[in-house]
């Protein structure tokens, strides 16, 4: 039996501390240990992106990170992006523009889209399709996802302008 690691990390603004086996993947830490079930598992070969979270300012597939690598990290999942009292513009836009159907890819999709808009606040459709190419969807055919992200970008830019 291998020694457990002493882990401290921040998830959605909350500090978590626990002992974990080295082979615990971050996706299991989130889903099983911390009951954060927004990020999902859709494959075991790091292709589908359903597990996408933001870690230390990067879009990362949580299924491809061992918990030791995430020690000391700052992690945000869909749950940390907005809720019933205050939705992130992407969460509203996805509903407004039918950017989801079964919802399984949605947490990863929105989490990644948020980071994409930080990288590029005014993306073209092509930028969005390229920037979201690490997140698979089987239901929507992506068209309304692109529409949702464009709408959210417009709203966020307008809000920024208004604030200035």
């Amino acid at each position: 039996m291998t020694d457990k690691l002493h882990i401290k990390l921040t998830v959605n603004g909350q500090e978590e501390e626990f002992l974990a086996e080295p082979r615990e993947l971050l996706i299991y830490t989130l889903r099983e240990r911390l009951n954060i079930t927004g990020p999902h598992i859709g494959c075991e070969t790091s292709h589908c992106g359903a597990c996408t979270i933001t870690m230390d300012g990067k879009s990362v597939k949580a299924c491809t990170v061992f918990i030791g690598q995430a020690n000391g990290a700052d992690v945000t999942t869909i749950e940390g992006m907005g809720g019933p009292d205050a939705l992130h513009p992407l969460q509203s836009a996805f509903k407004e523009h039918h950017g989801l159907q079964c919802g399984y890819c949605t947490p990863g999709m929105i989490t990644r889209a948020a980071k994409l808009l930080e990288e590029n606040p005014s993306p073209t459709e092509e930028d969005i399709r390229f920037g979201m190419s690490g997140n698979l969807c089987r239901c929507t055919g992506y068209q309304n996802i692109v529409k949702s992200i464009l709408a959210a970008a417009a709203e966020m830019n307008a809000a920024k302008e208004a604030a200035e």
């Binding site: 494959c43 949605t106 969005i128 239901c139 992506y142």
Partner: protein, 805 residues
């Protein structure tokens, strides 16, 4: 008189009833990460179960040694067929009248087949336990070609008596499953023999897999104190699963509660019962604790129900002017190791006999031979109604081949053969009564929208340029006019394991004017909670926002056959409308009582009943709801509730016209979709926003299937495409922008005229993409090239045609 009464249009639009692009109520939880999928479920003391799987496609299982596995920390038990045998559960019935091993019983028949089930305290221990189980195999010869299988001495199903009939009649060979026929054999052969022109071709629709983003799984929890089993799972047909589990376990149905929570996509993959469900139930009974099984993606692709794998030999005859006179089809259907096809019982080849498509073909014959091979069992209807994708692909390819034979434009050939609007209801030569259609209008609209004539001119110019060496890119125009058949189905001929394929809706109106309705279907992303409330809003005049729709819990939902094959709107949607009308009928009586007039003196007006000729005298549905709880009305029971079990009189027949414009690089085999136009006619349109989303999604699944997605095997039966590295799922980058359009030809027999649409884009999409590839090379002599049209296969078309000279 109330001057502030909003007018009818305002009242209607505030209901967000049928026709409204109402935003989805499901989205709140999904966009906030608060969905509840099977793997989100955590119960106290829950254990984890997973499978030891066979690396071989065909082998005897000589010995299973679980000693080392049982010593792995956290492993509690390892089940094998020997453990399930006393319970009679080592085999289970399939939906196609066959039986299937739950755990390997003496041999294995496909790579990945379940051999043992390890039960452990968590998934980490289960994963370690699996590695420690030692299985001794003795390899047997592998059959991966269905034509070879029908000639081979190698016996796959040693459990079947080769001399006895199968579930669907006599078997011709030990690896043969069934023969199913429709139409007129002799008459068709006669027509073909006498025809001016006959085009013959083998059309192969390759094996693929529905691959929803969420894999299959379940949590089984046997409550030994109360004797009740609760089973959460990825079930597209929860009631059917409950009945099946009851039949095979001996636990009475009232002591079984099956719950389909949120499901991350189904597409047909989650209709049938899998070994994982059975083993989890047994494990829970044996350990007395809840047991969770969630499969990996590789498990899903390699062992759960595949789709398609139909070899369709076709002959189509016509006059020299292009009028089709006959159609002949013989299909060899590869079902893998067990026939686990999810079809209505009497249709072992599903609705393949829709293969006369949109065309008025007077004489036709279809024969299907099912075959066992060393591949995963199945197949299922992957975003289609049973075998409809195969049928549509077949006819849309045969029409193209005929066009080549006649040297005719394929759009024109279609037009002169369409069933005419006034021919509906139309009785096809293979036995279906098509409800309604207006193919000419749809076709003309589509051709106009893409400037078809200009495209053909551009294509000719491109061919010339190619021949002059000025370009290495060809242009293909992929045409499809499909007619499909959904909404299974009338109880008299449609049943799943004896359960008639009706569906149901139960509505209860609350005193303060909101409501809850429960259905026998289950959404896996189709938005039922949003759209079925819209049907009711229109039927009963309460706002959709005030109506909760629930599905999926067999303790509370009325019995239904679930959601697949685009049956929810045609069947449950009809039940919903009918139940709504029962509510309205009672509401009418209550209104009349309250208004002190005769029942016939009030009429329904959007959200109220008004006195005929005195519209200032009315009672809203809200008023009526309260009254039903408040008033003692002679002759009426209190409350306002209704239930409808709807047995559809017929299937419904959505149709569409799709056109795909594609560029192909002759040297690399790469493709680029320049334009995709999809016109769908699904009858009455409940929520245009959702319809559009369904079309986008179905077209993308079609793109994947046509352009690269496959479940491929090598000659040893090893799966070559078992991960998402090789199993093609397009990203947003590979997916084009789609233009959607519609016509509306209601179904005459459906209460709201709706036909269903979810699967049309996959049915019509695949031939559109595939025909585009074929069309690009038509000028160079191509007749037929099998899908998928991935880079190397497109390259090979060009290579074989000498275009790399």
């Amino acid at each position: 008189m109330n001057d502030m009464t909003p007018d009818r249009e305002e009242r209607k639009s505030s209901l967000k009833g049928m026709g409204s692009s109402r935003k989805r109520v499901e989205d709140a939880r999904f966009t906030q990460g608060k969905g509840n999928y099977v793997d989100d479920i955590k119960l106290d003391g829950m254990l984890s179960g997973d499978f030891v799987r066979s690396p071989y496609a065909h082998a005897r299982v000589v010995d299973i040694n679980t000693e080392a596995a049982l010593k792995v920390p956290g492993v509690l038990a390892v089940l094998t067929a020997k453990d399930l045998e006393p319970l009679g559960l080592h085999w289970m019935p399939t939906l196609a009248g066959d039986k299937q091993m739950v755990l390997a019983d003496g041999k294995v028949l496909f790579q990945g087949q379940e051999v043992a089930f390890v039960i452990a305290k968590d998934r980490f221990a289960a994963a370690d336990g699996i590695e420690a189980v030692e299985v001794e195999y003795e390899e047997l010869p592998v059959l991966t070609d269905p034509f070879e299988a029908l000639k081979s001495d190698v016996v796959l199903r040693e459990d079947l008596d080769p001399t006895a009939d199968g579930a669907h009649g006599p078997r011709k060979h030990h690896n043969h499953i069934f023969t199913w026929e429709a139409g007129e054999k002799d008459a068709t052969e006669q027509v073909l023999a006498e025809a001016d022109v006959v085009a013959e071709e083998m059309i192969y629709y390759h094996r693929t897999h529905p691959c929803p983003l969420e894999t299959c799984g379940c949590v089984a929890s046997m409550d030994k104190v109360n004797g009740k089993l609760t089973l959460w799972g990825t079930f597209q047909a929860p009631h059917a699963i409950r009945t099946v589990v009851s039949l095979i376990s001996g636990i009475e149905e009232h002591n079984i509660r099956v719950i389909s929570p949120d499901i991350g996509g189904g597409f047909g993959n989650k209709v049938g019962a899998y070994a994982g469900y059975v083993c989890s139930v047994v494990a829970s009974i044996v350990t007395g604790q809840p047991v969770k099984w969630i499969e990996d993606r590789m498990d899903n692709l390699m062992t759960t129900a595949f789709a398609r794998d139909y070899w369709m030999q076709g002959k189509i005859s016509a006059t020299k002017d292009g009028k089709i006179t006959g159609l002949w089809c013989h299909t060899t259907a590869d079902h893998g190791g067990f026939d686990a096809c999810a079809d209505p019982t009497k249709f072992p080849a599903g609705f393949m006999n829709i293969c006369t498509g949109s065309y008025d073909i007077p004489t036709a014959y279809l024969a299907v031979d099912g075959v066992y091979t060393n591949k995963a069992p199945g197949g299922v209807a992957y975003r289609c109604s049973f075998r409809v994708t195969e049928a549509a692909y077949f006819i849309e390819r045969m029409v193209e081949v005929l066009a080549i034979e006649l040297n005719m434009d394929a759009a024109e050939l279609r037009r002169i053969n369409f069933i005419k609007k006034d021919q509906f209801p139309y009785n096809s030569a293979l036995g279906w009564e098509y409800d309604s259609g207006d193919y000419h209008t749809a076709w003309d609209k589509a051709l106009k929208a893409v400037n078809y004539d200009d495209l053909r001119k551009e294509q000719s110019a491109r061919v010339a340029a190619f021949q002059r060496g000025e370009t290495r890119k060809l242009l293909g125009i992929g045409l499809t006019h499909f007619t499909e058949i959904v909404g299974a189905g009338p109880v008299k001929n449609c049943d799943i394991l004896g359960l008639g394929m009706f569906d149901s809706c139960e509505i209860r109106i609350h005193p303060t004017g909101s409501a809850i309705a429960r259905l026998g279907t289950i959404s896996q992303g189709q938005g039922h909670a949003t759209t079925f409330a819209q049907i009711l809003a229109t039927e009963i005049g309460l706002p959709a926002d005030s109506i909760t729709i629930e599905e999926g819990d067999t303790d509370t939902a009325p019995y239904g056959l679930g959601t697949y094959g685009s049956r929810s709107t045609p069947v449950a949607g009809a039940a919903t409308a009918m139940a709504g009308r029962k509510i309205r009928a009672k509401a009418q009586m209550i209104a009349a009582y309250l208004l002190e007039v005769h029942d016939d003196d009030v009429e329904f007006d959007v959200d109220r009943f008004v006195v005929k000729g005195a519209p200032e005298r009315f009672k809203t549905m809200k008023d009526i709801a309260f009254a039903s709880y408040n008033q003692a009305i002679p002759g009426l029971e209190p409350g306002l509730e209704a239930v409808s079990y709807y047995d559809p009189p017929n299937m419904t027949y959505p149709f569409g016209a799709y056109i795909c414009v594609m560029e192909l690089d002759v040297d690399t085999g790469e493709h680029e979709i320049r334009q995709f136009y999809a016109l769908d006619d699904c009858g009455t349109r409940i929520n245009p926003m959702i319809i559009e989303g369904q079309v986008h999604g179905g077209l993308t699944e079609a793109l994947a299937i046509a352009m690269g997605q496959e479940i491929a095997y090598d000659e040893m039966g090893n799966v070559k495409t078992g991960t998402l590295m090789d199993f093609f799922l397009p990203t947003a980058w590979e997916t084009p922008h789609y233009t959607t359009d519609h016509t509306t030809t209601p179904s005459p027999h459906h209460p709201i005229g709706a036909k269903g649409v979810g699967e049309s884009p996959n049915v019509g999409g695949v031939p559109a993409f595939s025909n585009a590839v074929h069309d690009a090379f038509r000028a160079f002599g191509l007749r037929q090239a099998h899908m998928p049209h991935d880079h190397w296969r497109v390259w090979k078309i060009a290579n074989d045609l000498g275009l790399h000279g």
